[in-house]
């Protein structure tokens, strides 16, 4: 654990990569990322739009006092937390299997995890639409085994959105948990075993506590990605489910209220920055302890 942190902080530039290469990336990020964000922060105040000009505070007030919008903020966070928790529940056993039992198949498992990430997120989401459609594979199957009498409307609701998001995000959870699990010395588990702990107790008292850092990292990554996800929710949530990104999209394309959209994206950004700060704290704490 300690080693990992140390490796992380002391990782210098290897001979292969010249420090100047960073400059290209940095320039790209400044032009296409930092400047737009700064611009956006100012937008709330200045952009002249079709809507009436109002001070910035009006939009934040509206977002945090109007029950409708407040509900959307709460829904966004709830959805993200829910998706993240499901990702942990599904991802942890997979990570454990990958590290402890896959053996020479671990390469294959990692490939299976990462391969979906190589296809477009839109393709994957449409895949779910095909499966979940009124006369899709799932309904056909359930009808065929007589489990249901008429097709269930899976689509356009929270269920399909959550399934879609989990599908997209679970690899991130698996990989961050697996990397920490892999760093746990097997002799720690053997020590617990010889001291009288059953397999389950060993997992509970040694393996799991030592893998909490991986869960923490995975939580933050998945939470952030879920928070900002848009395409999946648009295609699978079908308007039933409203989250901040969808609302921002709506404000831009339908209401043309750019200022309100900017205010909302700033809130989203603040949540993200807050999470990253938490993560930094987590790493710092580990660093001090090590």
């Amino acid at each position: 654990m300690t080693d990992q942190v140390r490796r992380g902080t002391s990782r210098g530039f290897s001979g292969v990569v010249s420090p100047w290469w960073i400059a290209v990336t940095a320039l790209f990020l400044v032009v296409f990322f930092v400047i737009p964000i700064i611009n956006n922060l100012l937008n709330t105040d200045q952009l002249v739009t079709l809507a009436k000009q109002r001070p910035a505070s009006f939009y934040y007030e509206k977002l945090f006092t109007d029950p409708y919008y407040l509900g959307i903020v709460a829904d966004t966070v709830t959805l993200s937390v829910g998706v993240t928790v499901i990702c942990i529940i599904i991802g942890y056993p997979v990570a454990l299997f990958l590290v402890r039992h896959a053996g020479r198949w671990s390469g294959l498992v990692i490939f299976l995890l990462i391969a979906p990430l190589l296809t477009s997120i839109i393709m994957r989401t449409f895949g779910w639409r095909v499966l979940f459609a009124r006369r899709g594979l799932l309904n056909d199957f359930l009808l065929w085994i007589d489990a249901i009498e008429k097709p269930i409307l899976f689509l356009n609701g929270p269920t399909s959105a959550v399934i879609g998001l989990v599908h997209v995000l679970v690899p991130f959870m698996v990989l961050s948990i697996a990397s920490v699990l892999r760093s746990i010395d097997l002799q720690l588990e053997e020590s617990a075993r010889i001291l009288g702990a059953s397999r389950f107790k060993t997992f509970l008292k040694v393996t799991f506590p030592l893998s909490l850092d991986g869960i923490g990292t995975g939580f933050i990554i998945v939470f952030l990605l879920a928070n900002g996800s848009f395409v999946t929710l648009l295609l699978l949530g079908g308007g039933e489910l409203k989250t901040l990104p969808l609302l921002i999209y709506q404000q831009f394309t339908i209401s043309r209220d750019f200022q309100f959209a900017a205010a909302m994206s700033n809130v989203l950004l603040a949540i993200a920055v807050g999470c990253l700060y938490l993560q930094l704290r987590l790493i710092k704490r580990k660093g001090v302890k090590g």
Binding site: T2, L188, E190, S191, R193, I194, L195, A197, L210
Partner: protein
């Protein structure tokens, strides 16, 4: 499992019967037998990769043996998982739980036995006293030095009163001084508790000074089992003799076994033919054989002594080593020099036998041993 009888758990006898283990094509352990009497400290000594750790892991239950059985106190535990064997184990890298305090580390085994918190507190205190580290309960393992971590690991493994203690190179990661202190410490604790102990090491000195019994291992085979002085003074095989230090090895032809203990070995160095006598195991057949003589058992003299085992040579080198003179002597017709440590009481640092002078080498017949290959 056994919850309250732990405090009076006896140290037990450990028996290995025909245990073997292979990993794919690698034979880590040939079928082997071993009996460790209660309270005995036995060392497994051998070069890297000879199967010491494998033996220990089979005893602990981390590796399933391919053949044979493990008996602890007469009870067959071959099929029991590690947590049901009632053993203690210390690993080379301490392996303390980094997320627990020292107290929680030491208490781990007791918690698994569901001991009461009161009992735990008492036992943890006792153990920390035993390893002479009282007052570190609240610290985390990474706030301790290597030697302290090692002591805590020992305390943790002893707290449940295991019937057998397994130590896999417990002192390997310590520097030389600390290592020696800890060797004495280990022996003291082992004596105090009278616990049957198996110590894995590849350090000859550690094995010889620390243990009641030594098993010398090579290539998955127990080459020799005996007390430290037995394996040191009378190695049975060439490997044991070479592994336990600089023995002079003389190769020749051994005569057929007779009723008496004596065996005659004919050495053929060029033109010179010498017949020497040695007590030999009757099991060794007539034919080519090697005998070993320790350098400190050879006596040098200027005139031909009135003894039977005599070789003639010329002094090629000399070093004074503080308590003895080390000579390097070449014998006509023999490629390797013969080493002789002369403990002669003279105060002088000068050689009694100057370089270039002729000397006679002689030894008592019981000081040479015939080796199996």
């Amino acid at each position: 499992m056994s919850s309250n009888n732990n405090t009076d758990r006896q140290s037990l006898e450990l028996v290995l019967r025909g245990i073997s283990k292979r990993f794919g094509d690698v034979v880590a352990l040939e079928p082997s037998d071993l009996v460790v009497k209660p309270g005995v400290l036995l060392s497994l000594l051998g070069p890297s990769g000879c199967g010491k750790t494998t033996t220990l892991r089979v005893i602990a239950g981390f590796e399933a043996a391919d053949t044979g059985s493990v008996l602890i106190g007469g009870k067959d535990v071959t099929l029991l998982p590690p947590n049901k064997r009632g053993l203690g184990m210390v690993f080379q890298n301490y392996s303390l739980f980094p997320h627990m305090t020292v107290a929680d580390n030491v208490a781990f085994g007791l918690r698994m036995e569901k001991a009461s918190e009161q009992e735990i507190k008492r036992r943890v205190g006792e153990m920390l006293d035993l390893v002479q580290l009282p007052g570190v309960e609240k610290r985390f393992p990474n706030q301790l030095s290597g030697g302290q971590q090692q002591r805590i690991a020992l305390a943790r493994s002893l707290v449940t009163n295991p019937s057998v203690l397994l130590l896999d190179e417990p002192l390997g990661a310590l520097d030389k001084n600390l290592r020696e202190t800890m060797q004495f410490e280990l022996r003291r604790i082992q004596n105090t508790l009278g616990i049957t102990t198996i110590l894995v090491t590849h350090d000859q000195e550690e094995a010889l000074t620390l243990s009641d019994q030594v098993v010398v291992m090579d290539q998955g085979r127990f080459q020799q089992i005996g007390t430290p002085s037995e394996v040191y003074e009378s190695p049975e095989t060439r490997f044991v003799s070479e592994f336990l230090g600089t023995s002079n090895l003389l190769s020749g032809d051994i005569s057929a076994p007779t009723d008496s203990d004596d065996r005659k070995v004919t050495l053929q160095y060029g033109e010179v033919k010498t017949v020497i006598e040695s007590p030999g195991a009757p099991s060794i057949p007539a034919g080519p054989a090697t005998i070993a003589i320790r350098p400190e058992k050879i006596v040098l003299s200027k005139r031909s002594p009135e003894m039977r085992n005599v070789l003639q040579g010329i002094v090629k080198g000399h070093v004074f080593r503080g308590s003895y003179h080390a000579y390097e002597i070449s014998v006509a017709g023999r490629d390797d020099p013969i080493f002789v440590y002369d403990q002669a009481g003279e105060r002088s640092t000068d050689a009694v036998h100057p370089i270039g002078s002729g000397v006679y080498l002689t030894w008592k017949r019981e000081n040479s041993v015939v080796l199996r290959d």
